[in-house]
Subunit: 333 residues, 6 copies
Amino acid sequence: MTQKTDHPIRLALSEDRADIYFARTKTVLEKEGLNPVVTMEIFPNGEGIICGVKEVLNLLGTVLPPAAEVWALGEGEPMQAKEIVLRITAPYQSFGLYETAILGILAHESGWATAARECVEAAGGIPVVSFGARHVHPDVSARMEYAAVVGGCVGCATPAGAELAGLDPTGTIPHAMILIFGDTVEATLAFDRHMPPEVNRIALVDTFKDEAEESLRVAAALGERLWGVRLDTPAERGRVTPDLVKEVRARLDQAGYQRVKIVVSGGIDPPRIRLFRERGAPVDAFGIGSAISGAPPIDFTGDIKAIEGKPIAKRGRIPGITPNPRLKRAKLT
Amino acid sequence: MTQKTDHPIRLALSEDRADIYFARTKTVLEKEGLNPVVTMEIFPNGEGIICGVKEVLNLLGTVLPPAAEVWALGEGEPMQAKEIVLRITAPYQSFGLYETAILGILAHESGWATAARECVEAAGGIPVVSFGARHVHPDVSARMEYAAVVGGCVGCATPAGAELAGLDPTGTIPHAMILIFGDTVEATLAFDRHMPPEVNRIALVDTFKDEAEESLRVAAALGERLWGVRLDTPAERGRVTPDLVKEVRARLDQAGYQRVKIVVSGGIDPPRIRLFRERGAPVDAFGIGSAISGAPPIDFTGDIKAIEGKPIAKRGRIPGITPNPRLKRAKLT
Amino acid sequence: MTQKTDHPIRLALSEDRADIYFARTKTVLEKEGLNPVVTMEIFPNGEGIICGVKEVLNLLGTVLPPAAEVWALGEGEPMQAKEIVLRITAPYQSFGLYETAILGILAHESGWATAARECVEAAGGIPVVSFGARHVHPDVSARMEYAAVVGGCVGCATPAGAELAGLDPTGTIPHAMILIFGDTVEATLAFDRHMPPEVNRIALVDTFKDEAEESLRVAAALGERLWGVRLDTPAERGRVTPDLVKEVRARLDQAGYQRVKIVVSGGIDPPRIRLFRERGAPVDAFGIGSAISGAPPIDFTGDIKAIEGKPIAKRGRIPGITPNPRLKRAKLT
Amino acid sequence: MTQKTDHPIRLALSEDRADIYFARTKTVLEKEGLNPVVTMEIFPNGEGIICGVKEVLNLLGTVLPPAAEVWALGEGEPMQAKEIVLRITAPYQSFGLYETAILGILAHESGWATAARECVEAAGGIPVVSFGARHVHPDVSARMEYAAVVGGCVGCATPAGAELAGLDPTGTIPHAMILIFGDTVEATLAFDRHMPPEVNRIALVDTFKDEAEESLRVAAALGERLWGVRLDTPAERGRVTPDLVKEVRARLDQAGYQRVKIVVSGGIDPPRIRLFRERGAPVDAFGIGSAISGAPPIDFTGDIKAIEGKPIAKRGRIPGITPNPRLKRAKLT
Amino acid sequence: MTQKTDHPIRLALSEDRADIYFARTKTVLEKEGLNPVVTMEIFPNGEGIICGVKEVLNLLGTVLPPAAEVWALGEGEPMQAKEIVLRITAPYQSFGLYETAILGILAHESGWATAARECVEAAGGIPVVSFGARHVHPDVSARMEYAAVVGGCVGCATPAGAELAGLDPTGTIPHAMILIFGDTVEATLAFDRHMPPEVNRIALVDTFKDEAEESLRVAAALGERLWGVRLDTPAERGRVTPDLVKEVRARLDQAGYQRVKIVVSGGIDPPRIRLFRERGAPVDAFGIGSAISGAPPIDFTGDIKAIEGKPIAKRGRIPGITPNPRLKRAKLT
Amino acid sequence: MTQKTDHPIRLALSEDRADIYFARTKTVLEKEGLNPVVTMEIFPNGEGIICGVKEVLNLLGTVLPPAAEVWALGEGEPMQAKEIVLRITAPYQSFGLYETAILGILAHESGWATAARECVEAAGGIPVVSFGARHVHPDVSARMEYAAVVGGCVGCATPAGAELAGLDPTGTIPHAMILIFGDTVEATLAFDRHMPPEVNRIALVDTFKDEAEESLRVAAALGERLWGVRLDTPAERGRVTPDLVKEVRARLDQAGYQRVKIVVSGGIDPPRIRLFRERGAPVDAFGIGSAISGAPPIDFTGDIKAIEGKPIAKRGRIPGITPNPRLKRAKLT
């Protein structure tokens, strides 16, 4: 993973990822001999959970001179709209070029973390797992999953994302494997034969037969070794409903499988999570896809508020430093 | 750039970017000695512009055996909801692991290209430039800008994105540089002194003074060398309005600067583009940020529809190949 | 059935079904020696399909003297709001008491016929069957089904209703019977063994297993003798969707059962009928419940407009006969 | 009335009022020699006031064998959506045929009782009378009025309905009688001459003249014998408004007729009842028509939940008995 | 009338009706010796009918020097939002003080004229009369009525307004007079006795009795001399409805009074006018109150666009004269 | 001012400002010899602040005989819809003609006072000044400003209005003067040179330059003599926003001009006032235009409720005096 955590910084440091006008500015300032110490303040346009601070500090640690001063909120803290979350005081040429990268890291990762937090809060204690890597480009899927965990998810699906987040990856069985075996029970038994014991056996029960029927079949076939079932009913069959969860729970219990858990996925978002809870559906875990991974970025803005200690600002902004007692001085390495 | 266009494939090929259950499936199938030739069909859940096909075919070219057959829509073509856009027939083990990457590439890039197309269609012939790299993680900002150009943008802001798209990068002057010079005219004159002649001189005119006043000042200072002005009025000053554009145009014209163009940016999206056009505001180019880069991904789904030539499908899907005469056979290399 | 068509008239003729004030009025008029020839006009407060005319004329034929004159629209004709649909000229005492019954017959039956017509028009040629006897009191269920057929339904479920409408009753197999047999195929085979050949074999396929799976099982078991399947998926499983119909159709066709028809029921109403048609779902017949049987009555009003040939009316109404060339003179027997 | 309360049971027992598939099921089960003891549970799809329980128990008493067990809510009790209101344990053949009738009785009568309750609750203590027999078929008008009284109405208009409900019928004077007399005062005086003293004299005051003027005229003519006036202003004259009631009250009081009551009718429903109360209109009673009699039935569903004591259910329902401590064991006779 | 048309100008010329800052400006400019020739352009913020032009030109004729140039739209012409309706070129001190008065005259009168036009257009040829003097201060009621006639009304109620508009005043009989006589017929007969023959006899028929009844009574009493009836039913009686008009028309016609016209008033506005027409109510004239007299003023703005022939403007406006070929050169006297 | 306060009464007394039917009524009553003592009650159709009472009592004092009795609410008191605000008992001929004027005075002035009160309440203690004379006819602009002060405004702009209200007029500097001087600072300095010291120096800062820049320029130029700045940003520049006020305040404070106040104007209405307060914008005063002067009149109605002491009323109203303990006996002079 060393290789992976290093690489985005290397890329971000590359000037070809910066808006071209920052490179041109650097050229002009160098030729004019201008490199004042400036204070830049960064704030989001909406409220949420900040994420990406560690990656940004990593980047700044690589480029700023020792005398530079950086104050920031902590990774995963809540932030208000317009609240200053990061303040950099340093010679402009040392970091001006990286404004695009800094804002982009915070925008994208905070968007994901904030969406994850909304799901987690809606779930009120029921574990939430991020399953949405398939909706984002593979170059950022690990970042997305890391942000989802910062936002409160207890698991994610890709090894790269799990490693960034310090977890083991989570997964069940894909529809493809069941189709190849031609029967859910056969596929689940094969999975059970070949997977190490520490991997939970979670059967996906909506491929060929009604979910309730299939749940009872796999429970009978795997016995004690079945950890749970996943309901992922497609929209064409009405998606997973609170009543379906209640019925599967009741039928499993009536057959003596109280121990088998129920994981729910497929188009799950905060309103639907609340619906499951209001209707009293006994869900043991939610798998969330695009409600987290498709969340919009939260825009961040960077403003120069002082030059050589003198307050300044463009029209529309108030010159000088905006106090925020929640900021902590960052140690750059 | 060669290095960069290669690299995402390399990463996507890495199994740590795949949902873990695909790796586990591969293990189980290998141990069971199962590797049937399957046909997988991929379709979007919404309509739009498809983007990422080239990158996906590049990936498939690396992993599929020669006998495999792939059919796809062309990069940038329109697609309908549920339309089959990609069909792969190959031994499952050769590509099953890459389903996460394939879907993620298409989802993210098609989301951006579709949003760009909406802006371009709203603009009705007025050029649209993508300025939104700052809202996405730097690891995918170049992919976003490439997709924006596929969707119809005539320019983008980062060198990496521009290279992917086969263009030169586009930019003006950042507020930071004007603040450091302390005067818009001074900053623009310095830019003019040091930039090569092929770079357009576009003054940003909302930093210190009223936009109309500042436009006349820079036009007087740069004379023939001024290509245009950019209006980027902040929300605190009411954003750029159609009336502002009309007035700046009129005042420039009255002073003899008919030749100076007007670029509009700041919170621009399709409804606001339409407003500018309905009100007859003489905009020469739009700079778009989060309306493109913050667009949600378009979900894609991959379904196995045949195994060894025999139609199959999970519940909710129709077994067998779905005809789509728009697909073309792809040549993998 | 003679007995049944007689009986409601007998009841309606009974004064205990009339609003008490009509009986009191009769008493007062008799004691005052008043029995003028009046003209009463009856109109609906909303538009729709008129139904109940035959039953009303039957009633009037029993009570009116030979000199009375009655004009009416024909059973099942369209009517506008406020259009005169029935005009009675007769001595008031001969029919005044039956105003409650006359208005009630028209209100209730026209409400059902109008709702049926809306379903039939939404279905655009696909046959519609009334299955909603279970939502109305058994004393009027046959009247409701008769009205549904007047409104355009091609079938109904109870023998009494079917007899009134001149049809054979229509039905499939109830969930109760399948539950008792414990298997859909077993139940359907038993049905097939014991029913006369003229009864269509229609299997209900959502009781135990997924509808697509069960459809293929019963088709295989009954072969040529299976007329069709009925999809009646409960709300807890997402109700019948257009995609479900398309998939069952496709799977039946792929297995060679093109001949097996698909009947759709369960919460069907005009908006959902239109949805099935817009999405191109190949439905062969709709079974409608409360969208017809639970339809609100259409209020009718009876106004005296002339007394002994002299125009009169209460406040709010225009005295005298309202011309309506669509009315036809009724022959009372 | 003995005759009348018997007759609907007789009809409901007739198999021609059952959905045909129940008769066919009976035939099949007989031929297969199947007659298991089943438990059927019945529940409504919406909340309200249950009505029809007595009639259903009457029916079941006629058909069930002595060993059968029936549990039910009491007539007129509140019920929740999906709450079990009736549970029958008996050999299936003994009652399966009557499912249509049982559900229809409960659906239609509970719909009316629930609508009546809404009116009564809106009226907050002001008496409510059901006047809507004219909107339903005469075969069920008495059932409707019985249900309205179960829902809380203090009176109803037909002798048959009143007898079922154990009341005397309530009525005023119809417009027809006033039109025949040609003057409201003349008609009311004639009514007064010929009606027995226990019948309240309630004058209908909107036929020929303004309501306030007419109220004073009848009060002067009948003196102490006038119980009240009924305002039934037609829509063409703006219906009865709170201001009209207040004015008529004030004018009656100013003339010394404080004792004369005001009954309001004509398109009255819960929102309009609330309006009268919010505006402080001194209404003494409301006459309600289609807001009760045109209420939609409340759908009920019957599910077999156990066969020979073993839990079972169709897909979407939970097998086995659903506990409901509010049910009471019914004594069948 | 000379006195009246003179007087508002006299007042407007008085500096105490001007915003105080215009007087102060005059003082400062005089002390500084500044009195440039300026061009002021005046435009409305919304579209409508311009009114007040004559009064404004009258005022300008009194104060401007002979060399001044004024261009204007004609009284009663349609105007677009932002269209220049008045252009004054003159020494600033000669008219600057009157900006408040000029804008106020145009704003208030154009607001009334525009509202009148909307009523007139809704009425589609049925005459419209302004009856709303009672909603505005008596100092401007004549101006309001003049504007209503400019907007298309065929009559108005006060002699002063009628004189300004060049008409005779229009009126019926007030409720007060009928109350004093104690009977509508008595009051109308007295009116008939004492009014000169050229005054139309229009009876107000909603004071004591139902409108239909009263209409027939006055028609019988006045015979040929009754020109029409006015329906002005109060809100407490449901206001005038299309059905009421139709019924009164029918009853008058049936009694042989086809010649008697029907005037409708009471809360009439464009939506209600359209309702009467859509429902086919035979209205002969509408009396309009606050829908015209309570109309909001249309804001006007005056901008200096040139000083001594040189284009100038404040921020937000385009310097120099805005061409409008619809303007005509005004002859000031 | 004596002349001015007298004149509207003189006009209102003139019969040419009355609806013509009142003059005709007077003629008829005189010829019939009828002049009963009547009681007329006047009430508004909506709630608000009553204004115009003094002017009405002035008028009545001129025309009523000594024995007349008048009860009224006090000027500026709150009133409810339908509450009696004025009760006149006098011979009808002495005041009947002035009903139009009395209702018009109350309607127009109460409309303005009520709108002013809404602004004042929204402002929660921040002073509100009426600047809207330019939206009403100059004949009533003083009345409008008087009413605005009755409603709670602390100032108004015309000398005539201020005199009626007992205040000094309030004003800043018009755009016209700044345009003539060609520079905001030059114009403000000239104003300062020639105005007496008791006039506040308030600079209008949106004419040529950005408001923040211009504020600092005038503060530097006038020093201690500058009382405040007025922000009146046009819609074309986004109007005044809470952020603009905050920024101007911050920049003035940073430069040491804490003492300079900020006046906000331009399209201000209660919702926008609340927005400024919710966002914490440090506004020192609001200038209100059409939100007060363009307010709709509040309709008033006058009803005769007794004649010679005997209760009477037209249909829809309750005869006799309506008690209102808030009324006070008025002393007429």
